[in-house]
């Protein structure tokens, strides 16, 4: 059983016991524990079920590479799934539950899948679920959804807060082991601005467990001394619990700081750092590889280094009797540590033919049995290890002997953590002697100056000995500082010493000739349930690229991202393909290194800060007066002003009738207003608009169209000429910034010698449309400028006073009614609105919203950008040929309109649509034509672009684009109606209200 040792764990504070729960069971641990070590101390070996076969799984590792120990943490607004027990620090009151099992962790019905594993091979989902199609939706998917999945999605809103930090440094050093500390020492002494970050709460990394000698002192003493020196430097910043999560172009890096995961906290829980570094040094160490032997996934089979970590760091023995299985010297450290802790090590199974290095000899001297040339045929046990059957590594797995044990410590060698090096394109090379991929320093990620900006240091760079790691790390720190512009001297590198090791002998399968039966129980990826046999099958079926094999088998997917499985998997793949490992290559390393919280990515951009909303001077009034808002860009515009007892639909109908019969007010402040000014402004606007603007008279307005260079209608609006060299261009509500940018682009990049200036004054003015038969009366009541038909005719504008307000009144109409759009300085907007509301009382004034605006314009057949246009519509489609100047040699879109497809007489064209039964056509419905196309789909001959209920006409009205439409007036065609009969509809004139314009012309 796994239990707490009497000898104290290095990281524990045994004076501070804490209690926590796992699946509701109350357990105890100590301050300094991880959740993993505390669970093991309570003999909770089983922590979860695997993804596909629901096999019992225990903790395998002691760090970020842990694939199995994923739990739900916390509750309610603090609930979070998929948290690693190995990186979760224990605190009093922690609540954890296991995941991926049904109904309980100990008894899981999904475990039947393990007996069906022959029927669940690699690519199973692809193969089985394609046909018959309906089975996917009704049978397979519900089954998979119920039986698979990692963790549960939180139900409540996240109750914590999060934030972002921005940092600019010369040298970012990722990893606080002895290599990272050494690199920081070199860079700091050289005078560089250094940020050194460590993902755990502790400095010193693995050296604190293995205790090599550094500069004649213990690693522990050296780390303490080095930290003190670093913290004494003003130019060095050190932070723990902060993971380097990703490296991006030109020295950008992200780091994830966990401020509140180790106990109750004030302030933000996570902080996402966005770091711009001139140089990045990754001192990220290495991850031990599992060995691929049968039943290597049973609870109680761990990485050798993890068994050692639990014993020395946390005073936890995973088992009383541990068999060590290895192909290298390092794992002997585990055997020695356990033996010295008073535990039994019945045997070390070493796949190498001989083991005569310092560490094996030391193990033998302690009386430990060392079996060379041997392997594990299979691990014995059900929910936990009970023994191992050993065999010759060179054979096919004939069992020589069974050894009883309750823990297996395995080591297949070490793989440098090259993730951060690789994120932005750093290349790897295969080191045959050490059997690992390591960074190729000749091919680093490049910065903007064509210089490598990432280097790796120490073990991460393939230097596994203390001496080699320190020398390499010191040089890396010194070089990075120099490249970042530091001028100081780094002094000399610390000296390290540890036991000399004999070479590793790569073992990718144990035993070498393992039978199918053994291979189909030899796990490569514990989290995704991928076995040696699955990768071999993938290769056999033609998935030769490592990227394809990954997707087909799911090897290295999900939260694991191949930390444990990658190298073993591609070694099996390369063997199956009869190719060399470096030729097969690795899958792509992508950020983040380990998962980071979604909330940390959001930072403070939540709730009302998610997207700042734009407000007009009238927005507050609208919100206080029943506005039912709709989003229009970042604005919120009133769709309708709903009175108590009304539905939104009722409100719209009331507004529509009242505006036609009495007086309506519209907050039109959101309309874009661009001032275009300069000696060449007229010439410029003639290029921007399809119609002529240079000849517009001062004091007059003209409706204009803008096209893209490939001829499609992009915006429209009324242009007013203010003086000799000044025009004011109205754009659509969503279009102000876009059209301003469009104008700037042409002025800066094409006609840069034209003397024109453009300013966006949208927010400088409130603009209110005063609309309806009583519009003139209310303005006259306020007094001031002459707004009579004679003084201010249709399509003209005047400056002056209206009441006490500084007004520019445009006599323009988007409704077909007598209408004035009046702009006042934004600061006077609300007061002007209030004055109109008050003065309009006797004339039946009511505010109206965007839906009423839409209906009024549709009754008049006016187009709306975004309804009648969708980026594929040209002015000719909307019968707007009159707005395409024939006098101008050139304007944006003119050449495009000559292209054959644009000039094609068969384009769909705008018409009005009137249903025979008076109903409202569905938005976006298609007009049905005879026959079917090459895909067997029904042919179409048009579509609905705008459709509304008109309270004025008491029936549905619509516009649409119909093939040859304007020539088919009176014809009845059918429109699609999902779930019902096609709708019989007559093609009519788009103008269905006041065809002669008598109402606006008064």
């Amino acid at each position: 059983m796994s239990t707490r040792l009497q000898s104290s764990g290095r990281l524990l504070n045994k004076n501070n016991p804490v209690s926590f729960t796992f699946n509701g069971k109350k357990l105890r641990g100590y301050e300094g524990d991880t959740l993993a070590s505390a669970l093991l101390a309570n003999d909770q070996l089983l922590v979860g079920r695997s993804f596909k076969y629901h096999r019992p799984r225990g903790v395998v590792a002691s760090g970020a590479e842990e694939p199995n120990g994923l739990v739900n943490l916390g509750r309610d607004g603090h609930f979070e799934p998929n948290q690693r027990v190995t990186t979760q620090e224990l605190f009093d009151g922690l609540e954890a539950t296991s995941q991926n099992h049904f109904p309980t962790l100990e008894f899981d019905v999904g475990a039947i899948n393990t007996h069906l594993s022959r029927f669940l091979p690699a690519g199973f989902y692809y193969k089985m679920f394609i046909y018959p199609r309906p089975f996917w939706k009704h049978v397979y998917e519900p089954f998979i959804r119920k039986s698979a999945g990692l963790g549960k999605a939180p139900k409540d809103r996240d109750a914590d807060t999060y934030e972002h930090f921005h940092a600019y440094v010369d040298v970012l050093i990722v990893g606080g082991g002895i290599a990272g500390l050494t690199a920081a020492l070199a860079a700091g002494r050289a005078g560089a601005q250094v940020l050194l970050i460590e993902q755990t709460a502790h400095w010193g990394g693995r050296a604190m467990v293995d205790q090599p000698e550094i500069d004649g002192m213990s690693a522990e003493a050296w780390v303490a001394q080095t930290l003190a020196e670093l913290n004494g430097m003003a130019n060095v910043q050190t932070r723990t619990r902060m993971m380097g999560s990703g490296v991006y172009d030109h020295g950008f890096a992200m780091a994830y700081e966990r401020l509140g995961d180790h106990g109750p906290h004030d302030g933000p829980r996570h902080r996402l750092w966005k770091i711009r570094a001139k140089q990045i040094v990754t001192a990220t160490g290495a991850i031990e590889r599992p060995l691929s032997f049968a039943a290597n996934d049973l609870p109680g089979v761990l990485l050798a280094s993890a068994v050692r970590d639990y014993a020395l760091n946390y005073g936890v023995s995973v088992g009383d009797r541990t068999v060590v299985v290895t192909n290298n010297d390092d794992a002997y450290r585990t055997a020695i540590a356990l033996k010295e802790a008073g535990l039994e090590v019945p045997a070390i199974i070493d796949a190498r033919t001989e083991a005569t290095g310092q560490l094996p000899e030391a193990a033998r001297a302690l009386g430990i049995r060392v079996e060379t040339g041997k392997g594990v045929a299979t691990v014995k046990g059900g929910k936990r290890v009970t023994g191992v059957a050993i065999c010759a590594q060179a054979g096919e797995g004939s069992v020589l002997e069974e050894i009883g044990c309750d823990c297996v410590a395995m080591s297949g060698g070490w793989s440098p953590v090259v993730h951060l090096w690789s994120h932005c394109g750093g290349k790897l090379k295969w080191d045959d002697e050490q059997a690992m991929f390591r960074p190729d320093p000749k091919r680093p990620p490049m910065n903007q100056n064509g210089i490598g900006f990432v280097s790796t240091a120490g073990v991460a760079n393939g230097f596994l000995s203390t001496e080699g790691a320190l020398t390499d790390a010191f040089a890396a720190g010194e070089t990075a500082a120099k490249l970042a512009g530091a001028k100081g001297k780094a002094d000399k590198a610390p000296m390290g010493a540890d036991a000399a090791e004999q070479p590793i002998s790569p073992v990718w399968l144990m035993p070498q000739g393992a039978s199918y039966k053994l291979r189909s129980k030899a796990w490569l990826d514990f989290q995704n349930d991928v076995k040696v046999s699955d990768v071999q099958l993938a290769a056999q079926e033609g998935f030769e690229s490592v990227e394809h094999a990954k997707r087909y088998t799911t090897l290295g997917m999900a939260t694991d991202q191949g930390k444990l499985s990658n190298i073993n998997g591609l070694a099996i793949l390369s063997k199956s393909l009869d190719s060399e490992i470096p030729n097969v290559g690795t899958t792509t390393f992508r950020p983040p290194y380990t998962p980071i919280s979604m909330s940390s990515i959001a930072g403070v951009a939540q709730n009302e800060l998610f997207q700042p909303l734009r407000k007009t001077p009238v927005s507050d009034w609208s919100n206080d007066n029943g506005a039912d808002n709709e989003p229009v860009g970042a604005w919120r515009r009133a769709f309708a002003y709903v009175r108590s007892g009304e539905s939104v639909h009722d409100a719209v109908n009331r507004e529509v009738k009242n505006t036609r019969e009495n007086l309506g007010l519209l907050d039109a402040s959101t309309l874009g207003k661009l001032i275009v000014k300069g000696p060449d402004a007229g010439k410029f606007l003639d290029m921007m608009y399809t119609n002529m603007m240079s000849n517009l008279k001062v004091g007059k307005c003209r409706y204009g169209l803008m096209c893209t260079e490939n001829g499609f209608l992009m915006d429209d609006g009324v242009v007013a000429r203010i003086d000799e060299d000044t025009w004011l261009c109205h754009t659509t509500t969503g279009g102000a910034e876009r059209i301003h940018g469009w104008m700037e682009d042409w002025l800066q990049c094409e006609w840069w010698d034209w003397k024109v200036y453009v300013a966006n004054v949208t927010e400088q003015f409130a603009q209110i449309a005063v609309v309806g038969p009583n519009a003139r009366k209310v303005l006259e009541k306020l007094g001031g400028m002459d707004v009579s038909k004679e003084a201010l005719p249709f399509m003209e504008w005047r400056d002056g006073k209206i009441g006490e307000f500084d007004a520019r009144a445009y006599r323009i109409s988007f409704s077909g009614e007598l209408s004035y759009e009046i702009a006042v300085p934004a600061s006077q907007g609300r007061a002007f609105w209030d004055a109109l509301t008050e003065a309009g009382e006797e004339f039946g004034v009511m505010p109206y919203g965007t839906e009423c605006l839409h209906i009024l314009r549709a009754e008049k057949g006016f187009i709306m950008i975004g309804d009648e246009t969708d980026g594929t519509v040209i002015p000719q489609d909307l019968n707007l040929q009159w707005a395409l100047s024939k006098k101008k040699d050139d304007y944006l879109g003119k050449r495009a309109h000559e292209r054959s497809h644009m000039a094609d007489p068969n384009r769909w064209k705008l018409v009005g649509l009137e249903t025979l039964d008076g109903s409202v056509l569905p938005d976006g419905a298609y007009a049905i034509a005879e026959g079917t196309n090459e895909n067997g789909q029904r042919n179409t001959q048009g579509r609905v672009t705008s459709t509304y209920y008109s309270a004025n006409l008491g029936r549905g009205i619509a516009m649409g684009l119909v093939h040859n439409g304007p020539n088919r007036m009176g014809e009845v065609i059918s429109f699609t109606n999902i779930g019902g009969e096609p709708i019989r509809t007559k093609i009519v004139d788009p103008v269905v209200y006041d065809k002669d314009g008598e109402k606006q012309n008064v």
Binding site: D249, Q448, E744, C749, R895
Partner: protein
């Protein structure tokens, strides 16, 4: 995330403060041009693995458009310069040739 120097402000700008505008030095074809010329102007773009001239706008800064010569493979930036030119300035061409001796101006 790229860093490009805005030639107007003289500051090194993060990509998030910029807006990309595609290939630089396009020659506009309008009325009177052939179908092929106009088609190429609208739709045909270089897509090199290597030196590329690009349009960028310092949109969260001075608002100006500028041009950049950049290697699409290594992300090296050879130079940035104001947009008011029909071809890359001599010093930018020289900077590219110094790093990419086999490169030719198209």
């Amino acid at each position: 995330m790229l860093i490009l120097r805005c030639p107007y402000c003289g500051v090194d700008v993060d990509e998030t403060d910029l807006h990309g505008g595609g290939e630089a030095h396009l020659k506009r074809f309008g009325p009177g041009s052939t179908d092929d010329e106009f088609h190429d102007y609208l739709f045909m773009r270089e897509n090199p693995k290597g030196v590329h001239f690009e349009r960028w706008q310092h949109s969260y800064g001075c608002g100006k458009w500028f041009l950049a010569a950049r290697c699409t493979a290594t992300l090296e930036v050879f130079g940035t310069y104001p947009a008011q030119t029909t071809e890359p300035p001599k010093e930018v061409v020289e900077a590219i040739k110094a790093k990419r001796p086999n490169w030719e101006v198209l």
